[in-house]
């Protein structure tokens, strides 16, 4: 109902404005001053209405003030023609009602500001005083708004051609300040009037009024543009007057908006120099004012200022901006007891950003901010709302992003304290962010103490929180990714100095071992490999005895034994076996025979006791054989024992073909290339023959079951053949042409039996043998010629 009426009235008023404007224009066109005035007065009469809501009145006002522009131009032309201000004033007095009269007087007055008839000062003073006649808040507000608008381009402002002396500047200043003061009062009155209004209607109006506060703020914009408002004037005149109004109006909305206006409109270095005053006003504002918005706005501006002009930086130090802001925030947080955690963290976040921008070299300032936040959080306890947690993550990420160097972060004593207040999940999120920073920036963590500090920060990932296990709550894939991040991290904990690196290894181990069986299989391997790298470097270094007890290869290998042991308890036996073998190779390279033997023993025990899956056995055994084959550190006896065991395991594998293959691979254990006394031709052949026996058994079974996998076992023979060729080429005297021949013969006969044919392996082997025969290098060809091959097609 109300809305419809509003629309109706607005439509009617607008129509009337349009009509009168039309006649006014006609009068202007025919230079009829009197009529122009008559119709403009009539038009402006529509603005006397009380029926419209603030928004609708605004629309009407816009319409009318638009039309007044042509009138203004007309007045200007009239002055050119010699008409004096007094004359025009006189004519206007005939307008019946005060409101239209005042609009016209403002229009006329503004035109005369530049004239020599009357001084600008007098005109301005008169105008601003005259408007007092309209005390109705809405109408008065818009009248003054018009006054501000119409005089704006006639005041000496920055960039305009209007110059003047200091006096002119001060006059203009005074004018704007006064207009502002009156407008503010009117607006505040609008907020609080009319208890008779219906509640609904009032609510709606309040919302509309909110938008109108901008008209008040416009004055500040004008002030910001005025010539002659330098720092001194600002500090001594402008700011105090404005603040006085802001504080005294006691209206939350106005205060909030106007404070923000001040901050946005005036130059940053003004704010810097009047920081005390500005911050001092804050506690005087209404408690319901959102101070953090104001302070955040201020800090953001100052941060950007510092970022954009390096020359200004010393000023920040000079006025001690940091401690003033820190102090102000502290007071606000103290005063507003109900402030939610997310709000206070936001305040500190802005202060932190400010500090990082302006005083990035002052880690102590950064730490102070962190400390203030900690004090604040200690009052509220551990955070449990999402919003606050998000803010804290932003808060903690800010220095990370600024410095891009976790090592710097580690120096901030309050950083881990802030993290204490995060809930479990957020803590882990933050830990991941820290790790990502290291990975992305290739940050090197180079001392054991820094390692300790780092693991303190990421402890949410390293171990279970407070004895609770994560278990079903966490997604398996996510967990793995987390732990893999930790694993990747290990490679950045590094120092070239072997002693320091040793310490680092010990520390990492200490932290990782708190992880529990789910984490260890993911975090222990990188530690082991990092340690093995260190060992190899130590070995490569000079022969001098190492100063510290911890930094010898033996000590580290001992540490690794104890570490990998933990894995076998954590049901990661296959992994443990592989790691033992890796350690054995390292021990071999350091010529530590007993240690290497120890590792092999452990590997063998794992094989015997823990690895029961057939496929796993085959692979594990292959690795054992491959590793053992490369060992040079063992004496004959030890080597024999280990080799004998390995061959034994090979013969006991579940599937016969696997047995065969493992046994013939063992042949390599009796033959090493490096010219040492590790070439036992006889034992090699014994192995191969043993393997052949197994292959025979396989063949028998295959023949019995009629072509089930006949080509399979022929393949075994062909593999054996290839092995014989290998050792023939290496010069094993026990491998003769006859041996090979008989095997070849066997293959041929078995192939004839099988339906599926020879297979490509034989073909390629034969081709290879033929190729070797043809070799120009006499040695190889000679060996091959000893094999009679004619009966092979």
């Amino acid at each position: 109902m109300i809305a419809d009426d509003d629309e109706k009235w607005l439509a009617a008023a607008t129509a009337a404005v349009k009509q009168n404007a039309f006649y006014m224009q006609r009068a202007i066109d025919s230079n009829n001053l009197k009529d122009a005035l008559k119709f403009s007065a009539q038009m402006l009469g529509e603005l006397r209405t009380s029926k419209l809501s603030p928004h609708k009145y605004y629309e009407l006002y816009i319409r009318a003030s638009d039309e007044l522009r042509s009138l203004e131009m007309f007045f200007r032309d009239e002055t050119a023609r010699g008409c004096s201000i007094a004359e025009l004033y006189e004519l206007v007095q005939h307008a019946g009602n005060i409101l239209p009269r005042l609009y016209l007087l403002c229009t006329i007055g503004s035109v005369y500001i530049k004239s020599k008839d009357v001084t600008a000062k007098d005109i301005l003073k008169d105008l601003v005083e005259m408007c007092r006649a309209v005390q109705h808040p809405l109408r008065g507000l818009f009248l003054r708004s018009y006054l501000a608008q119409v005089t704006r381009d006639k005041l000496p402002s920055i960039g305009s051609e209007l110059e003047g002396d200091t006096e002119t500047h001060m006059d203009a200043l005074e004018f704007v300040l006064q207009n502002f003061t009156e407008m503010n009062k009117l607006w505040v009155r609008m907020q609080h009037q009319g208890p008779t209004r219906e509640k609904e209607k009032r609510e709606k109006e309040r919302n509309e009024l909110r938008d109108l506060v901008m008209t008040v703020g416009k004055n500040l914009h004008i002030l910001g543009q005025l010539e002659g408002v330098d720092l001194v004037v600002y500090r001594d005149t402008v700011l105090p007057r404005i603040l006085e109004q802001v504080v005294n109006c006691k209206d939350e909305l106005a205060q909030c908006y106007l404070m923000d206006c001040i901050i946005q409109v005036f130059p940053d270095d003004f704010h810097l120099q009047t920081l005390d005053v500005l911050l001092g006003a804050c506690p005087q504002l209404q408690p319901s004012v959102d101070i953090k918005m104001v302070l955040s706005g201020l800090m953001e501006r100052l941060s950007n200022y510092a970022a954009s002009s390096v020359e200004a930086l010393p000023n920040f130090l000079q006025v001690d901006a940091f401690s003033k802001l820190n102090h102000a925030i502290g007071k606000v947080v103290e005063a507003q007891v109900d402030l939610p955690a997310s709000a206070s963290v936001t305040l500190y976040l802005f202060l932190l950003k400010f500090t990082l921008h302006v005083h990035s070299d002052r880690l102590d300032y950064v730490d102070q901010v962190l400390g203030s936040c900690v004090s604040q959080l200690s009052a509220t306890g551990k955070l449990c709302d999402d919003k606050a947690s998000k803010q804290i993550v932003a808060f903690l990420s800010a220095p990370l992003e600024k410095f891009n160097d976790v090592v710097t972060i580690l120096k901030l004593t309050n950083y881990p304290r802030v993290m204490e207040y995060l809930d479990h999940d957020t803590n882990k999120t933050m830990a991941i962010i820290i790790i990502q920073s290291i990975l992305k920036n290739d940050t090197r963590i180079a001392t054991a103490d820094e390692v300790d500090a780092l693991f303190e920060l990421i402890k949410g990932l390293i171990k279970d929180f407070d004895g609770l296990t994560d278990n079903d709550e966490i997604d398996e894939e996510d967990f793995q990714e987390e732990q893999n991040s930790v694993a990747r991290l290990v490679h950045f904990l590094y120092n070239d100095d072997p002693e320091e690196m040793s310490k680092i290894i010990f520390r990492i181990r200490k932290h990782i071992l708190t992880g529990g069986p789910k984490r260890l299989p993911l975090t222990i391997p990188p530690l082991v490999f990092s340690a093995l790298k260190l060992i190899r470097r130590m070995r490569g270094g000079d022969e001098n005895p190492f100063g510290d007890d911890t930094s010898t290869p033996q000590k580290i290998l001992q540490l690794l034994t104890e570490t990998v042991e933990v894995l076998s308890d954590a049901s990661a036996s296959e992994l443990a076996l592989r790691l033992y073998l890796q350690c054995a190779q390292a021990a071999n390279d350091c010529e530590l025979e007993t240690v290497a033997y120890e590792f092999f023993t452990k590997a063998y025990l794992l094989y015997e006791e823990e690895i029961s899956d057939s496929k796993a056995q085959v692979t594990a055994l292959r690795l054992i054989i491959g590793t053992l084959q490369r060992m040079r550190v063992f004496n004959v006896e030890n080597r024999d024992i280990l080799t004998h065991k390995a061959t034994g395991y090979s013969a006991k594998l579940l599937k016969k073909p696997d047995q065969c293959r493992a046994v013939y691979e063992c042949a390599h254990l009796y033959w090493a290339e490096e010219g040492e006394n590790l070439k036992d031709g006889e034992r090699v052949v014994l192995c191969l023959k043993r393997a052949q026996k197994i292959a025979d058994a396989v063949q028998k079974m295959a023949n019995a079951s009629r072509g089930a996998s006949s080509t399979g076992s022929v393949s075994l023979y062909v593999e054996l053949l290839n092995k014989y060729l290998y050792f023939l080429e290496k010069g094993n005297p026990q491998v003769t042409g006859e041996t090979i021949q008989s095997l070849a013969e066997l293959i041929r006969s078995e192939t004839k039996k099988a339906e599926s044919g020879a297979g490509t392996f034989i073909t390629s082997t034969l081709r290879y043998m033929e190729f070797q025969r043809q070799q120009e290098d006499g040695g190889m060809s000679e060996k091959y010629q000893k094999i009679k091959m004619e009966w092979f097609e």
């Binding site: 093995l532 290839n722 490509t760 390629s764």
Partner: protein, 190 residues
């Protein structure tokens, strides 16, 4: 012109945090038609990353790979060439060319790609070519102490394959190339 990327032994995260940034910026999706990987990635994240470079991904199992489903060996035909793929810890003695040649004969392939030693090699011998792309991350190895990150790109064109090896030495990427030609499409000796 078919581009085949051969790489392996990344050992992420056990022995390395990631591929070198210079390599990552070179391995742009959409340029490569096949990837053959010698194994030891070791984690799913690396598998996924390789898939983004090229969806035709062939992997064999290394002894530290977390996914047990990768096969021990794999053969595939690209153009006129038969390729064989195997990690290499199964071939004893490790890195021995003659033992590798045996595997090549067994798989009956022109090009055998293996890893495990973390050492780039490319040998030509009777049966064809044996290539080891080394370790793409420069992961340490018990067999080879001085490891530079490396990978191989093969350009297969008809009967000819050009093997480009990319090595990161002292922070710079160095390229070398080797030419191989196959005599004919049959499997008989060249």
């Amino acid at each position: 012109m078919v581009l085949v990327l051969a790489l392996g032994d990344l050992h992420v995260p056990h022995r390395a945090a990631d591929l070198p940034p210079k390599f990552k910026s070179m391995l742009v999706p959409g340029k490569i038609q096949h990837i053959i990987c010698t194994g030891n990635l070791c984690i799913k994240e690396i598998h996924d990353y390789l898939k983004t470079i090229c969806p035709d991904l062939h992997i064999v199992r290394g002894e530290f790979d977390e996914d047990a489903r990768y096969p021990d060996t794999k053969t595939l035909t690209i153009g006129q060439f038969k390729l064989g793929l195997c990690h290499g810890h199964q071939v004893i003695p490790w890195g021995d060319l003659d033992s590798l040649a045996m595997l090549q004969r067994q798989l009956d392939v022109d090009i055998l790609v293996t890893g495990h030693t973390h050492q780039f090699t490319a040998y030509k011998h009777e049966g064809g070519v044996v290539i080891n792309p080394g370790s793409a991350t420069g992961a340490c190895s018990s067999i080879n102490q001085d490891v530079n990150p490396s990978f191989v790109l093969m350009d297969i064109d008809g009967l000819r394959v050009v093997v480009y090896v990319y090595e990161l030495i002292d922070g710079e990427v160095k390229v070398d190339k080797i030419d191989f030609k196959k005599a004919s499409t049959s499997t008989s000796a060249p």
